[in-house]
């Protein structure tokens, strides 16, 4: 165990004790260390176990379809044909629009909180935005069904579908609310707190001297933010966005409740779609055989995509923070 050395190191030179006492103490500490290690290792076991079990569970489907699974858009359990393409595209597309909506709002809110807001306002607003992250997905789904869908249909989808904009390739489909648009709006609200909180922390970590240098050159406060602060924090903000993207990809309930659950991918925002997580939520409990295996492969696919996106996000945020710490933070 590599931990051995560290633990021993941490124990200061104790005064000599009777031999018997020493032994008992060592046994106690050994057991203690052993228990701790087991707990720590079980985290790795769970992650490894997830990958292993998902891979084993998808074996049948991988053997049957191979790589075609990811390029085939036919999802037809009745004929034992399974292609995950509509779900992959649906997941990426809904998350993409969620970011398009959430990024400007989240970033500007972060700028407001870190650069402009007085302290008495900053704290409660930060708290409220973070509170958005505490609301469970299923409650967002309920709100989406009862409030957001009727609202979007009446004030946005209806007017556009009956107007000249309907000719655009993103505004086709039936204006009924069970669509990509509803899903993206809900996802945007759900990832907003992550983007805001991380961007705010990154902006705060930017050294005061950087801003002062800019002011000294005669820049206005907005020019400073735009020309100096934001470029400085760029990598970290990209990390924040990717973190939000990772969240959006794995969101299940709220999306399942409003997206329409149709395994056909269209770029129309008013068309029903499906996501990786939603198809598992809807179909896994009743599936068996190859069908179950295909759904588990979809789970594996979702897991790997979120893993890559999150790891990249974490690294970007981590290195930006390291860089900034090295030069000294604002506060």
């Amino acid at each position: 165990m590599p931990s051995e050395a560290a633990v021993i190191e941490a124990v200061p030179a104790a005064p000599p004790k009777s031999r018997r006492w020493e032994t008992r103490r060592n046994i106690g500490d050994k057991v203690y260390k052993w228990i701790l290690t087991v707990a720590a290792v079980s985290v790795l076991l769970i992650i490894a176990g997830t990958i292993y079990e998902l891979t084993m569970g998808s074996r049948q489907s991988i053997a049957a379809f191979g790589l075609r699974f990811f390029s085939d858009s036919n999802w037809d359990p009745g004929r034992h044909l399974f292609g995950a393409l509509p779900f992959i595209l649906g997941t990426l597309y809904s998350s993409f629009w969620a970011l398009v909506l959430a990024l400007p709002i989240g970033l500007f809110t972060a700028i407001f909180l870190s650069e402009m807001a007085p302290r008495w306002l900053e704290r409660p607003v930060s708290f409220m935005v973070e509170l958005l992250a505490a609301i469970p997905s299923v409650v967002y789904g309920l709100w989406g069904l009862f409030v957001l869908q009727p609202f979007l249909v009446k004030y946005f989808e209806g007017p556009i579908a009956n107007g000249p904009l309907a000719a655009l390739p993103i505004f086709g489909g039936t204006a009924n609310g069970y669509d990509m648009l509803s899903a993206s709006v809900i996802l945007a609200i759900m990832v907003l707190p992550y983007i805001t909180a991380v961007s705010r922390d990154i902006l705060r970590a930017i050294p005061r001297t950087v801003r002062e240098a800019s002011y000294a050159l005669g820049a206005t406060s907005w020019e400073t933010i735009k020309g100096v602060v934001l470029p400085y924090a760029r990598a970290g903000i990209i990390g924040a966005v990717m973190l939000g993207f990772g969240r959006a990809l794995g969101e299940t309930m709220a999306v399942t409740m409003v997206i329409g659950n149709a395994p056909i991918f269209k770029t129309d925002l008013f068309s029903s779609g499906y996501t990786l997580a939603s198809v598992i939520a809807n179909e896994l409990a009743e599936a068996s055989g190859l069908y179950r295996s295909a759904l588990i492969e979809i789970g594996l696919c979702l897991f790997l995509i979120t893993l890559v996106v999150n790891a990249a996000a974490k690294l970007l945020i981590y290195y930006t923070a390291q860089d900034l710490n090295a030069t000294g933070g604002k506060k």
Binding site: E53, D76, N261, P263, A285, E286, A287, Y291
Partner: protein, 331 residues
Amino acid sequence: MRTFSKTLGCAVLALAAMASRASSQDLTGAGSTFVNPIMTKWIYDYRQATGISINYQAVGSGAGISNLIDGTIDFAGSDAPMTAEQKGRAKGDVIHLPDVIGPVAISYNIPGIGTGLGFSGPILADIFLGKIKYWDDPQIVARNPGKNLPHEQIFVVHRSDGSGTTAIFTDYLSKVSPEWKSKVGSATTVSWPTGLGGKGSAGVAAILQQHPFSIGYVEFAYVEENKIPYAAMDDGTGNYVYPSAESAMQAAQSSTIAEDLCTMITAAPKGYPISGMSWLIVYKKSLKAPELRKFLKYVLTTGQKDTKALWYASIPPEIVSRELKLIDSIE
């Protein structure tokens, strides 16, 4: 990792053994959610009458059949008969016993138009294929003179989860439309050419109820209880038939039921054409033969009186007598 799962499995088993006082006399079943309401009533009444408890888990027809094949349950409830391939994997000969009949209603939501639009099978297939797109399509108008059908897009709703209802509906469409048969086919889940999916009959009924210009298929109970308008179907001879317990039973009576009782009674010469039977599937050789015989007989005699209150149709007497003979052959 296998050992890990086995250990956990054993933990569950131990819990089960600890908690359950279930004697070996008790029966376990699993499967169809469609029959769950009436199954719950049968089990309750049967326990009151005989003191024997029966454990039925509504896990879906597919999962019920898988459990039966694995031999983990005594009987499966399914809305679709076992396929030849499934029978091949089973541990012995199985028998299919129809326990209830149910009509599947074609339901729609067009403001100002109540129950009673008339459809033919081919028109329905074209709507679900996405070929008929508007409510005022000449084919629909020709069938419904005097009805003020709007120029609005038809919005198709289907099930997103695997379902016996879907099996019955798609079996019907396959019989009336060659194009449907070749492009989509029939199964508990199919690759829908158009429309959006709702989870469970309740989910589909909810979407129908809340969104104008929609059309979908649900078990008759849901449209009756929710007062959603439903269609009359052309039975193939130009007669329009409404879904009801009587018309579904008529469909069963007018169909030629095969020796193994595995016949789909859709598109029957008489009666409501989108009707289906649900089956209890058991092994011909069972360790619990006496208990099984007794319960199955209860279901087909006393139990049939409960059907109507729960919006099912009872099994016609001539089929019941064939079933009772089959039940006697269980050993």
